[in-house]
Amino acid sequence: MNSDGATVLHAYGVVPASSPIELPSSGIDGAQVEVAEASGLVALVSRLDGTRYGEEVWRAHAEDPDWLAGFATQHQEVLGAVATTCDVLPFRIPGMYDDEARLLAVLEEEKELLRRGLEAIGGHVEWGVHIFLTDAPDEEPAEQPRTGRDYLRRRSEQAGSRERTAEARRTRVLDAYEAIADAATHSVANPPQDPALSKRSEPMLLNSAHLVPRDRKDPFFAVLGEVQDLLRGDGMVVEVSGPWPAYNFVHLATEELQA
């Protein structure tokens, strides 16, 4: 617990010391987004009201989806704005510090990890890709079965046909992922998002993230367009989101360390 308690410091992430940064006009709760420099790194921070973002408040809201979503959204708004023009290594939340001295001490301790992370993602942004099944092709209309055996055989054929269709679809999605990954430096496939959070009713067949050099955005989008053209006939639609800070690729920092 710091001696003051009135304010706490939130760190959004770090950017390379050499980068010119366009700081967003405001951050969480309208607080100013500032920089804290140490150890060859620049952290993006905001000073927040301790009565709204101190330890007790975090404990009280640790399982509160609405509160966490509000904080997360504002955290990402700052990072997303910075990422459009500057490399940024995003921090996971809470990312809270008693004061600047404490943050700088931690940055000094972790400077190797953070430098390697910035190096690994340097010059790249992350793009998210979803493939949704929006329109399953119709099954062939069945003739009226004449006997019980016909009926059962028809049902079995339909089930088999659906299974083969689903299998064929899975293969096409995997092929699509590989084609997209070929146009990126690193790629990762994540579990599909739950409709309770995504608010989408269509099945999500792919939820992937791709680290793409800033100057390779056009070829990457061209591949997405080609993939969309290939999948359209099967009732699948490709969506892209971004540019994101490289949330999904921070593990490269530790892999670099181990190399």
Partner: protein, 110 residues
């Protein structure tokens, strides 16, 4: 090409922009990103647990509303319950709601 990068999802197929998805934000901010030691050590819900919790909350509220029960929307008891206890576990809160519902439900079943 020097056009500004899209700020949210771009439908390569439909050509209509959509608002940036909360799911996209939460799965990144809660579960990805660099973890370095901070001064507030608290275990937050990861995306899986958060999803389960949202589904439980939505299911219980929807079910109750289906039955015509929405008293909590203006009930001071619900807000006072949250103040009295430290941070009741989800199960306890649902149980408390159910007990209240069953208490008043008997009158409505005609």
């Amino acid at each position: 090409m020097t056009s500004r990068a899209p700020e949210g999802p771009v439908f390569v197929g439909n050509r209509q922009p959509a608002p940036q998805s909360l799911a996209d934000v939460l799965e990144r901010v809660l579960d990805k990103g660099i973890v370095i030691v901070g001064d507030i050590q608290v275990r937050l819900l990861d995306i899986e647990l958060l999803t389960i919790k949202v589904r439980l909350m939505v299911a219980s509220v929807d079910k109750a509303k289906e039955m015509g029960i929405d008293w909590w929307e203006n009930d001071p008891f619900v807000s006072s319950l949250a103040e009295e206890e430290e941070k009741p576990a989800l199960e306890e809160r649902l149980k408390a709601l159910e007990e209240r519902v069953n208490g008043s439900g008997g009158d409505r079943e005609q």
